[in-house]
């Protein structure tokens, strides 16, 4: 019997490498983000990462993929929300 659940894919890129990730339109962004972090084997500071569009808009974690405006086949960028360094005095 065919699976009635609708699945789409996005391409997630991280540090030059791509992964195709399956999602459902009503699935929350943070669930897809977790799969991306797992696929890229990111263990530390996972809560600081986000999925960004090519226009540098971070997808809101609590929204569905559909409500966040994600389209099947879309390219998303996995990255830390903030990149910085420093030597506190």
């Amino acid at each position: 019997m065919a699976d009635a659940t609708q699945h789409d894919h996005v391409v997630v890129t991280y540090n030059g490498a791509d992964q195709s990730i399956r999602y459902e339109p009503h699935e929350r962004v943070d669930a897809v983000l977790k799969r991306a972090l797992d696929l890229f084997n990111i263990q530390a500071n996972r809560h600081l990462y986000g999925l960004f569009t090519e226009a540098n808009v971070e997808l809101p974690d609590g929204e569905s993929m559909e409500k966040a405006g994600v389209r099947p086949g879309q390219l998303l960028i996995l990255r830390q929300s903030t990149v910085r360094g420093g030597s506190p005095r």
Partner: protein, 148 residues
């Protein structure tokens, strides 16, 4: 794991860190390579803000950098940044690095990069399988590669 580096990359790195930071502000560059290669053959200087105790990379630049790496089939292998005094990896450095997956290196250069232009006093660390940073010895983990 060993990181290989073209000799001119270290020279260019110090030139960039000194010109940008002027020994007054922190600065950062990224060392890049072809995908699946451990030979650093280029460096990229990001758009960033900085002060004497830290730097922050422009958000739009980070997104575009990852898109550029993808397009060019390249990857960032390491970040290199300055500290005004002693080189070490601060909690901020640990937490907010460009990449935090296994095998990504971070090199911290002391004295704002205004020293000898060598790795003397530098702090070198890499993300381990656990996701935590692990200090490594630059004299064994960083090897000069080929001619320039």
């Amino acid at each position: 794991m060993t990181l290989w580096i073209r000799p001119r990359i270290l020279v260019d790195t110090f030139d960039c860190l000194r010109a940008c930071g002027r020994g007054v502000e922190e600065c950062v560059v990224y060392w890049t390579a072809r995908q699946s290669s451990l030979v650093v053959d280029d460096l990229v200087h990001p758009t960033h803000s900085a002060g004497p105790a830290g730097y922050e990379v422009d958000s739009r630049w980070v997104t575009q950098f990852f898109l550029d790496l993808r397009h060019a089939k390249r990857t960032a292998l390491a970040q290199v940044h300055t500290h005004p005094g002693t080189a070490f990896h601060s909690q901020t450095d640990d937490t907010y690095a460009l990449v935090s997956s296994q095998g990504f290196y971070s090199l911290v250069i002391p004295d704002g990069g205004m020293g000898l232009g060598s790795l003397s006093g530098a702090y070198f660390t890499v993300v381990a399988a656990s996701g935590h940073w692990k200090e490594v010895d630059p004299s064994t983990e960083l090897v000069w590669s080929g001619d320039d």
